[in-house]
Subunit: 374 residues, 2 copies
């Protein structure tokens, strides 16, 4: 009788895992004290490994009798962590978990360990902005692309208000949706605006590539410097010649440099520095989160930048995690700017090359934007 | 020398599969004549199975020397097909493919076999509408939810134009994004409007659940009739009392029944029939694509419906695929409506319970909406 029950249970679990229906399997399960149990039904697998950014190392999951593999962490700090499973050498997202970190090369699952309402990415009962997705054919590149626009709560296009605008750029292998879905930029702005800590602003999140070929080619070929420069240059044209004119025609945004900011993460941080610092006639506020792709080639990347630009640069903000592989290059960016006498804010925080760092950086940067000069 | 090369290749493939970077593996690969090759790097797997809606049966993939499993189809008709891999009993999306059919219970990968520009879901060089995503806390349910709004190309809120509005409902286990991302509703409308085949209209795509508990509980418990009815009733309140007032306050939409339509697929088809036909004071146009959840209980679901309603019902459109498990129940819906003398359009087409059918149905239905009565 007991073994019949086991067979039926095993059958149900197998069918559940394969069909995705009749799912009693819960993964991830988060306890009140922040421990997380990950589960995967993989009855025929030889090995299931958990890769989770909350854990220092890859962790073998343990097979239960029913063919469900599982692992439970210690209590984790409140945050949003990415993870995936490796099943007999094949990497996969968690099929039981709808919370996805979508990515063009490398989607992961996410687990949200809830924290206090004061954490910038937590949903609160505050007025919510709207996220608009625009599609267009790029004449510059000849492809179909998109950009997302966050309008703050109470946004009005009544001809009286002109909102300041932040252009917010994603990283390599992300797409235009990443800052709002994974980065929770709209939630972070809603919270900051509700607390009176940030100016109501429009946030534009464009596709950040010169061409998607750079993604199709994969990371290694993107490491070709000429290709990287071409990518930034072409992206800059799509931003300045195509996205910005559409935004300024369709939204009630200010059109002067002191009400325009540009910031981004990783590849997008590189882009925000190169586009922003070389177009101070357009942007007065520049931010870079863990910018990548520099090779001690700052003089050629910022040929005109000098201390005299301090008058025009309302804020230059650069941050990087101390566990990020890019920390040393970014420390050299910081030292070079110091040497040039270019005023900037340099921030080192704990953390690696991850949205756990970048959500915090957006929450730090946004309140400083469009404020009277210090 | 040759074996060293093989070890290096194997190592690269393994690292590529696990890290997601340095990916030379292309999957899916579509040839000009429509054959599709699926590939998965799973060097340690015992078995990899392909489940693709283009194929009648599950298909074992074949392991190549490098640990990459692959399978090539015959030439496929141009369309968008869903598929997934089952690796040693664990179902997964294709890690090499960014085209995802996101779903709360059951995400799949998609392969697009391109076709002529006349296919309704193909991207064309036509003016594009915008998709707006709104977030709100539901007072009816007490949860956080969202709705998406498509505004047509050239949409103007100038006080002169009032657009007709279609409320378009997703199916069980989808979310509010499904109709635009998977269903390509915005692309379909852009194409139809550019050809002058559909009226410029606003399309509202709300989250379609009374409560997300019905998803968390899984499909089997959703089959509880009382629970299903509760789900529809509560969803109807969020639609009528919360979503519609927000839409009518924020968009230039008409507010009379003759300029409001409601349609949906599967669970959303059931909802569009129950909400639409019981609220003819609000909706004059009702469509249902493969509606589900009926149990020959039509008299209790549509207690007031009668032939006299033909005067008020501008269009009642019901379609179902002949390979859909719901075809017989829907034929009985059709027969019951005939018996009652309720005028309606009944469409049977080849196809199963899939977006391949529903994209076509949207392209059939939209041109008929808001047209002068026949």
């Amino acid at each position: 009788m007991k073994s019949l029950r086991r067979v039926v249970l095993l059958l149900m679990t197998t069918l559940g895992a394969v069909s995705g229906f009749a799912r009693s399997l819960v993964s991830p399960e988060v306890t009140a004290d922040g421990r997380v149990t990950f589960r995967l039904a993989a009855p025929d697998a030889q090995s299931v490994v958990l890769r989770c950014e909350a854990l220092a190392v890859e962790t073998a999951m343990v097979r239960g009798e029913s063919g469900v593999w599982s692992f439970t962490t210690e209590a984790l700090e409140p945050d949003i962590y990415t993870y995936s499973f490796v099943v007999d050498g094949a990497r996969m997202t968690d099929p039981a978990n709808p919370l996805l970190k979508y990515n063009l090369l490398n989607s992961d699952s996410e687990v949200h360990v809830p924290g206090p309402a004061s954490l910038p990415w937590e949903l609160n009962d505050v007025p919510r902005g709207v996220v608009h997705r625009h599609f267009f054919r790029s004449k510059v590149v000849g492809d179909e692309r998109d950009f997302l626009v966050y309008t703050p709560p109470g946004y009005k296009a009544d001809g009286r208000t002109r909102y300041p605008v932040l252009y917010l750029l994603h990283g390599y292998s992300d797409d235009a949706t990443a800052w709002s879905t994974v980065g929770r930029a709209n939630v972070i702005l809603d919270n900051l605006i509700a607390r009176g800590e940030a100016q109501p602003m429009v946030v534009v999140m464009p596709l950040g590539y010169g061409s998607l070929d750079i993604v199709r080619a994969g990371w290694n070929r993107e490491r070709d410097p000429a290709r990287e420069d071409g990518n930034v240059d072409t992206f800059a044209r799509t931003l300045l010649e195509e996205v910005m004119p559409q935004v300024e025609a369709e939204y009630a945004v200010a059109r002067d440099r002191e009400h325009r900011a540009i910031a981004g993460l990783s590849m997008g941080g590189r882009e925000s520095l190169i586009v922003g610092l070389n177009h101070l006639e357009t942007f007065a506020w520049v931010g870079a989160f863990s910018p990548g792709g520099f090779r001690d080639d700052f003089p050629t990347k910022f040929p005109g930048l000098e201390a005299a630009d301090n008058k025009r640069l309302c804020l230059l903000w650069i941050g990087c995690g101390t566990e990020d592989g890019l920390i040393n290059m970014n420390r050299r960016v910081h030292a070079w700017l110091d040497e040039k006498g270019v005023r900037h804010t340099w921030v080192e925080t704990p953390g690696a090359h991850t949205f756990r760092v970048w959500r915090r950086y957006l929450a730090q940067l946004a309140p400083q934007l469009f404020q009277p000069r210090r």
